[in-house]
């Protein structure tokens, strides 16, 4: 049942995004309608997501946890930027251009763990460690804060999970170059971006065209 709901939600998310992107820039009523539809879906999934984690493979667990993360945390973000792979790779440039921020102005990302789980210190302090999702990690909440700005989430859209992995890796390397140059720390938040990405791409590959980087403000906000 959970798998079916996962697929349904992914498909619904895709349809909503396609609809909004087709009519970009979306009107306020477009966004409001999308919010209402998404909230309805959220409630359905929230009611049914009391699954037994051990019943699912790691990939399913990743997907489900990403969905859960989406459901429970995404409302915290006031702005959501949807990026295709190419744009995702250029996230740094985007951060500077769209928000008028320089890298130095981006605050250190924050990580919060639920009482039932603790983030390993090494994972918090370094992006170099290979990150593996375990059940202990499942309820880590990550936010990405910018100075004097709303929280922002970058949602990656890639054609395949392999592309997603490679792209996020490329981005990590890029960020690491910047970090080395500007003494800026990299967050483990990308992990979740990747999961979100995988969640979205699992349903269908065709989602967004060649180049799109619209800001869909408050799309998921409750």
């Amino acid at each position: 049942v959970t798998k079916r709901l996962t697929l349904q939600l992914s498909e619904r998310l895709e349809k909503e995004l396609e609809h909004l992107c087709a009519s970009f820039p979306p009107t306020k009523s477009d966004i409001l309608r999308a919010q209402l539809r998404m909230q309805s879906d959220k409630r359905r999934v929230d009611q049914s997501i009391s699954y037994r984690l051990s019943d699912y493979s790691l990939y399913d667990l990743n997907t489900l946890e990403a969905l859960k993360y989406t459901e429970t945390q995404i409302a915290k973000f006031e702005e959501i930027t949807i990026l295709n792979r190419v744009r995702a790779i250029e996230a740094l440039d985007l951060a500077e251009k769209l928000y008028g921020l320089s890298i130095e102005k981006i605050d250190e990302p924050t990580c919060q763990a639920s009482p039932s789980s603790e983030i390993p210190a090494s994972a918090h302090e370094s992006a170099f460690s290979p990150i593996e999702l375990s059940q202990e990690d499942k309820s880590i909440n990550v936010s990405f804060k910018m100075s004097n700005r709303a929280d922002t989430l970058l949602l990656f859209v890639c054609p395949t999970p392999d592309d997603a992995e490679a792209s996020v890796g490329d981005l990590m390397e890029r960020f690491e170059q910047v970090r080395a140059r500007k003494s800026w720390r990299i967050s483990v938040a990308y992990f979740y971006w990747e999961l979100l990405l995988l969640t979205v791409t699992k349903a269908k590959t065709r989602m967004i065209g060649a180049t799109i980087g619209p800001l869909l403000k408050r799309f998921f906000a409750g």
Binding site: R85, V86, I89, D93, P130, D162, E165, A166, Y190
Partner: protein, 114 residues
């Protein structure tokens, strides 16, 4: 006359950089080498777009490589120029070579010496 895949200047540079990177040709590395050898600072996004187009045209192939720590344990997408791509590069270089034959005298004061 046999039809060859035509390459843009950027595509030719990317293919040459990919060939020179050998087994470790992936987007960030190719970008680094392009910057080092040509002075052209191509964004990763532009590089990915170009590589995607080349792959669609069947001039390069990709495969997932091994994960590395500096990438947070994520794998690289290794790019390899296949036979068709190599022929396209050879043809493009041959065309440039033929074009350059007439200017072997060099350049003097901004004028071409033929």
């Amino acid at each position: 006359m046999m039809q060859h895949d035509k390459l843009t200047d950027r595509e030719l540079k990317i293919l040459l950089a990919t060939l020179r990177c050998g087994e470790d040709a992936y987007a960030p590395r190719i970008g680094e080498k392009l910057l080092e050898w040509t002075g052209e600072d191509l964004s990763l996004g532009a590089l990915h777009s170009a590589l995607d187009r080349l792959e669609e045209r069947g001039l390069v192939e990709s495969a997932m490589g091994a994960p590395t720590p500096e990438r947070g344990g994520r794998r690289k997408k290794i790019i390899r120029v296949n036979a068709k791509g190599q022929i396209a590069v050879q043809h493009a270089l041959a065309v440039l070579g033929r074009m350059a034959e007439g200017v072997t005298g060099g350049f003097e004061g901004g004028e071409v010496v033929v």
